[in-house]
Each structure stands twice: as structure tokens, then as C-alpha cells.
């Protein structure tokens, strides 16, 4: 157990250092070193994870997790916001894969459709509207890069150690049998079951979520429209003033 902690602490330190080196800090020195350190940290962390049993499962999970985490790190550290968005899209795809791995097919689809398809595209739209050039000084600097990186990675370490501790100590309750799971969340009529659950137990919440979506839609429209109005109003008033003069 102590060894495991040491390795986790080492992984955390290396990960912090690597992430810090990868973050935009004005120049481009040390990015590769940072990436290497981060990969080492990732490897150290992976060495501490339990095996999933079959090699197939192991392989698929490792590939998806690697894609997800690496894409996430890249999305956060890229200088160019467009690259950030694209890397984030990859993260989303990895996440969708993980969802599929646990049998949440609908979630995988929804993530790809809603996140990658809608939200990410909106991001890109806004980037395009606001930052067509793609070269901005502020994208090349970070706030308190060291402190932030250490905080974030130490958080990951703490959570990992906690998860490990909590799950290896006698687990809170035994996992349901494989048959029960096959009949439960992994049953063939997955979407039907999820739909029943959503529109049965969570009907009111669904209604509220719908209302929320509508409100957000209207709100976004109003915010945008107001911005426009004030601008034109100010121009109009300026013109009026000059007219009066």
C-alpha cells in the first residue's frame, strides 16, 4: 500500500511538472519535455490500476482512456483555441467510447450528437466570430500556471488514491451479479429501458429540463439582441446629439 502511495505521489509530481511545462507560458520551451513527463506520469498511474480481466477489455479500455486523457491535456494546453476545440472534440469521442464500454449506448450517442455536434460547433462558430485571426497574445500566457497545474493534478492524485482506498477496502456492497446486470442496464432494449426510466420516475425533471432549455434559448437570444440594441441605440443617440448641435 505504501509503495502504491509513493508511486501515486511521484506520478502526481511528474504530472504537475509536465502539465506546467505544457501550458502556454509565453515561449514554447519545454513543451515536449512536459509531454514526456506527463506520459511518464500517466504510465505510473496506469501501473497502479487494477486489471480488467480479459485482454480485450483491457485493450479497449486502455485505448479509450488514453485517447480521452491525452486529448483532454492537449485541449487544455494548446495555444490556439481552435486546436483546443478540436482536441476537446476528440475528448468527447473518447468519452462516448467509454460510455459505450459501460453499455450506455444512448449516452454515447447523445454525447456525440449534442456535445460534439452542437455545442462544439457553437464554440467554433463563436471563435470564428470573435477571433478570426487566431493569434492572440493572451492565448500564449496562463494565470499562475504552476499553482494551477499543481492544484489540478494534486486533485487528481487525491481523488485517485481515495478511489483506490475506498474500493479496495471492503466495498460498500457486493456488485450485482453479471446476470442481474445483463437484465438491468445492459439489457438489449437499452433505449426503451432508459426512456421508461426517464419518462417514468423522472417525468417532472424532464419537463423542468425542457423548460430550462427553452429559457436558455430565449435568454441567449435576448442577450445577443440586447447587445445589438444598445450598440445601435448608442449610435442613434450620438447621431441625434450631433443633429441637435
Amino acid at each position: 500500500m505504501k509503495d502504491s502511495h509513493t508511486i501515486w505521489i511521484l506520478a502526481t509530481l511528474l504530472g504537475s511538472l509536465g502539465l506546467w511545462l505544457m501550458l502556454p507560458r509565453g515561449g514554447r520551451r519545454g513543451r515536449l519535455a512536459g509531454a514526456a513527463l506527463a506520459v511518464v506520469a500517466l504510465g505510473l498511474a496506469a501501473s497502479q490500476t487494477p486489471r480488467l480481466g480479459t485482454w480485450t477489455a483491457e485493450g479497449i479500455f486502455a485505448a479509450l482512456a488514453l485517447v480521452t486523457v491525452v486529448a483532454a491535456a492537449a485541449a487544455v494546453t494548446c495555444r490556439n483555441p481552435v486546436y483546443c476545440a478540436i482536441w476537446f472534440g476528440l475528448t468527447l469521442l473518447g468519452t462516448a467510447g467509454l460510455f459505450l464500454l459501460v453499455g450506455a449506448q444512448f449516452l454515447a450517442a447523445a454525447t456525440v450528437v449534442v456535445y460534439a455536434g452542437a455545442i462544439l460547433v457553437t464554440f467554433l462558430f463563436v471563435l470564428m466570430l470573435a477571433q478570426p485571426e487566431g493569434k492572440a497574445a493572451y492565448d500564449r500566457a496562463s494565470w499562475e500556471a504552476m499553482l494551477s497545474a499543481v492544484t489540478g493534478v494534486v486533485l487528481i492524485g487525491v481523488l485517485s488514491i481515495t478511489v483506490g482506498g475506498a474500493l479496495t477496502a471492503p466495498p460498500p456492497e457486493a456488485a450485482p451479479s453479471a446476470a442481474a446486470v445483463q437484465a438491468g442496464v445492459l439489457r438489449p432494449q437499452h433505449v426503451a429501458a432508459l426512456g421508461t426510466e426517464l419518462f417514468g420516475r423522472h417525468l417532472i425533471a424532464i419537463q423542468i429540463a425542457g423548460t430550462l432549455l427553452l429559457t436558455a434559448l430565449v435568454g441567449a437570444a435576448v442577450i445577443i439582441a440586447q447587445g445589438k440594441n444598445t450598440k445601435t441605440d448608442s449610435i442613434n443617440s450620438k447621431e441625434l446629439k450631433t443633429d441637435e448641435e
Binding site: V82, V126, L155
Partner: protein, 149 residues
């Protein structure tokens, strides 16, 4: 460790990693849009954990919660991006430091380090998107870029 528990364990680690990396991004980056992106990444971390728990506990509740997260994230993205657009209209800048005027009176602005003057060393290639509504055929040098970006 049983396979199911190991799966949960590893997925939780991935969720924690997504969450932590997203946090780092949110804390560090100065671009408003990238900050929101990082925040979405944190939401993804939570979603992964929830899905893992759903599988382990053989309960749809986690997945339902993820659906709600996606709904709320969509709302958030809509409103937040609208706000970003509005803010950008006001200042012509996506730098969050522009809005540090919301600090206490008589306080100097927080400056960790001066912004790098030049956008990097020469030869660094920057993929660019064409400005909205302008044909991409126009050469990059001739585009009348806004001064304030």
C-alpha cells in the same frame, strides 16, 4: 479485484483525470471560450463517473443524471456563448483580464507577467479561420483585421 469493480475503479480514475485537467484549463487559460471549454471538460469527467457508477450499481439513475447534465451543459453553452459574444462586442477582446475591472476600488490590476508581445517565434504556423462572411479566397495579408484582437 473483480472485473466489474476494476472497471468502475479505472473509469473513476479517468473521470477524475478529466475533471482535474479541466480544472487546470479553467484556472490557467485566459481565453473566455477556452475557459468554457475546460468547464465542459469538467462536466464530462463527472459524466464518466456517473456512467461508471450506473453500470456498477445496475441502476439507470446515473445515466439519467448524465442526460440532465448534457441538457444543462447545452443550456449553459448557449447562454455562456451568448454572454461571451456580448462581452466581446463591448471590448473587442476575449481576454478575461479585460474584465478584471470588477475588482475592489483602488486595487491595482493583477498582472502575473507581461503579455508576450509577439505571437511566438517566427516560422510557427498558425491555422486560422477566415472571418465570418468573408470569402476564404482573400489572401491573409489583405484581410483588414481588427486592431484590438
Amino acid at each position: 479485484m473483480p472485473a466489474e469493480l476494476a472497471l468502475l475503479h479505472n473509469l473513476l480514475l479517468v473521470g477524475a483525470a478529466l475533471f482535474g485537467v479541466g480544472l487546470v484549463g479553467f484556472l490557467c487559460r485566459r481565453n473566455l471560450i477556452v475557459m468554457f471549454l475546460a468547464a465542459e471538460m469538467m462536466l464530462q469527467g463527472v459524466s464518466v463517473s456517473l456512467a461508471a457508477w450506473s453500470r456498477y450499481r445496475n441502476d439507470f439513475g446515473g445515466q439519467v443524471l448524465v442526460i440532465f447534465i448534457i441538457a444543462v451543459a447545452a443550456c449553459e453553452a448557449a447562454v455562456a456563448l451568448a454572454l461571451v459574444t456580448a462581452l466581446f462586442r463591448r471590448r473587442g477582446d476575449l481576454d478575461v483580464a479585460v474584465w478584471d475591472r470588477l475588482r475592489e476600488a483602488n486595487q491595482p490590476p493583477f498582472t502575473e507577467a507581461p503579455l508576450p508581445e509577439q505571437p511566438g517565434a517566427a516560422g510557427e504556423s498558425w491555422p486560422t479561420l477566415p472571418p465570418a462572411g468573408v470569402a476564404p479566397a482573400v489572401p491573409d495579408e489583405k484581410v483588414d483585421y481588427r486592431r484590438y484582437v
